[in-house]
Symmetry: C2
């Protein structure tokens, strides 16, 4: 059975549990997951024992190449009429739909006069656990990101601007085959490094700056996400080394907890308690990590609020940080795969503090 | 009155017509339009005579700098509780919300036990007509895009890959200050040029290829969008020149129709009829244009289905094309501003067929 076929069959099992006759899939990432289609406009209509895929004429040829398992059709005119006819033909009485659809579309669905069941994250639930093909893509996305970083690193010196570093890194990612950049690269130096969601500015890197670099790669539609923090030699090296060391050990603590069955909140707690005990609890305001795959942020959330137990095959970030206003910040982020009793760290770049002289 | 204040007051007038006491704004572009906030998480709550803005701690400082006109508050905990308290305090009985919100969020709003009124495109309607500040940003976005193209053009030669051209163009856009690339740049050559929504591949440009390049710039959050088609000298130059000429004249025909009060469909018809009469009607499958601003695709649509009359201050693309399968395609796209009795073409790059020898 192909991966795609396995995914559809798992979805059909979940649909039985939810008691829907059919499930309408509009989220383009979910469609890609269920059909292999990489274009940007389509919908999938899954019944208990069949799987339909529709796109418009622009993607006809592409769909013929990519969509093998589902029955293919072409969209023309209003989507709702097509859905209506299909439902009539198949005798669908209870239609499930993604609860993430716009209210507008829900309002249109109401015309169908069938029972409508909003389903929250039905496909996303399947996407939590990665299969071998997905793991390969994520590994490749990591490799591209790491190589791009290594090619960029020699430029990271006092005097270069944050945005020049980001631009170079982006070029290197694209050169290595990343068709999309998963998110705007963060290069946050000095005072900016103390703002967890700083972007990049025309500020020049200066001696004594922490430089947080948060970036990701892509391969086969799957993303990677990682963060490294470098230190430019300068004043206050003692306290800076200390903060770096706390974050790095918090990262290790969290990763050492990763295993099948553990709750996300326990992993978060491992990092958070360590940072609390070191006296920096007020400076770690965000969650410890997030799942990654076709979306750069997906389940599982690794946070104090997330009590779901982990399963083998889940891949997520571990990214504790400490951000001291007007002083600077550190974040270190790895991607980790749950593998039975352990967590396997997929990212390989050095995490020891690198001090750049120059 | 500042532009922001004018926008809020226009929205409040529209709210009166729709008989809502308050309007909840979640779309981040609409929030930017109404408040000036450039961050990525916030909401706005507009009543008949007041305007509130909320973001979380990450954007506190940024909001203080950017959001001048609205009353600012910080989000903490669940958004719905904050909205509930605000509504209670202000005595709101009828709440308008953007009909584009996810069904999920609508489902949460239902807890409020007030009258909920979905409103389709209330802010988007205001955004159709650009004010002087917006026009300046779009002009700058065009300038950056045009300069980036001119810097890239010498590379467009047989032997270079489509993706190398796209990568270079993207670099040149970023160098000129574009913080975002509005959409994946299209570089579609030879056979690919006959697919209107081709992306870019590792295919090398070859002699005789049409090369469609569709790209945009950004400035101050506003986008530009333009397309040029070059021809690499090679076989079949006669029929290729002919197709190019038809598309270019169709573009001129459409632009010459632009004026206040005309229906979008009449502009579309001007281009479409010309292409039909030339015998290529079957090869022009998409609409003639689309509005642009904070979104790369917004109103007005310039299509056969769109009967709204145009107003001065609207800015949109005019982009007819002819795509002949297995032969090649041409698209030429300009941005046009409605100015009273005429349409002013904002893009300035040459539209005469450029034939590249080499």
């Amino acid at each position: 059975m192909s991966n795609i076929e396995t995914r559809i069959k798992s979805l059909q099992r979940a649909m039985r549990v939810k008691r829907v006759d059919a499930f309408l899939v509009l989220n383009i990432k979910n469609i890609r997951y269920l059909t292999g289609f990489t274009g940007s406009s389509a919908f999938a209509f899954i019944t208990r024992d069949r799987s339909f895929f529709f796109t418009d004429f622009r993607y006809k040829e592409q769909a013929e190449n990519e969509v093998r398992y589902s029955e293919r059709g072409l969209e023309k005119g209003k989507r709702i009429f097509l859905i209506k006819n299909l439902m009539k033909k198949l005798g669908i009485k209870v239609l499930g739909f993604e609860s993430s659809v716009p209210f507008d579309f829900y309002d249109v669905l109401r015309q169908l006069q069938v029972t409508l069941t909003p389903l929250n994250g039905l496909v996303e639930q399947l996407r939590l656990v990665k299969d071998s093909e997905e793991l390969q893509s994520i590994k490749e996305a990591i490799k591209r990101a790491e190589e791009a970083f290594m090619a960029t690193k020699p430029r990271i010196r006092p005097g270069i601007t944050e945005s020049a570093v980001a631009l170079r890194l982006e070029e290197e990612l694209k050169k290595r085959g990343c068709r999309r950049i998963p998110f705007d690269i963060i290069v946050a130096s000095g005072r900016h490094s103390s703002m967890p969601h700083a972007g990049q500015t025309d500020k020049k890197l200066e001696k004594g700056d922490f430089v947080i670099i948060d970036w990701g790669g892509e391969a086969g539609g799957y993303y990677s996400d990682m963060t490294r923090t470098l230190l430019l030699a300068g004043p206050d090296m003692g306290p800076k080394k200390k903060i770096y060391d706390i974050v790095n050990r918090a990262r290790e603590k969290a990763i050492s907890e990763v295993r099948e069955g553990i709750k996300s909140s326990d992993i978060d707690a491992a990092a958070r308690n360590f940072i609390n005990d070191a006296g920096y609890g007020d400076y770690f305001g965000h969650g410890t990590g997030h799942g990654i795959g076709l979306d750069v942020h997906e389940g599982p959330r690794i946070s104090w609020m997330s009590r779901e137990p982990l399963s083998s095959g889940m891949i997520f970030s571990i990214e504790p940080g400490i951000y001291v206003p007007d002083f600077g910040g550190v974040r270190i982020e790895d991607l980790v795969l749950v593998e039975g009793d352990t967590g396997r760290t997929l990212t390989t770049l050095n995490r020891k503090l690198e001090i750049i002289n120059g």
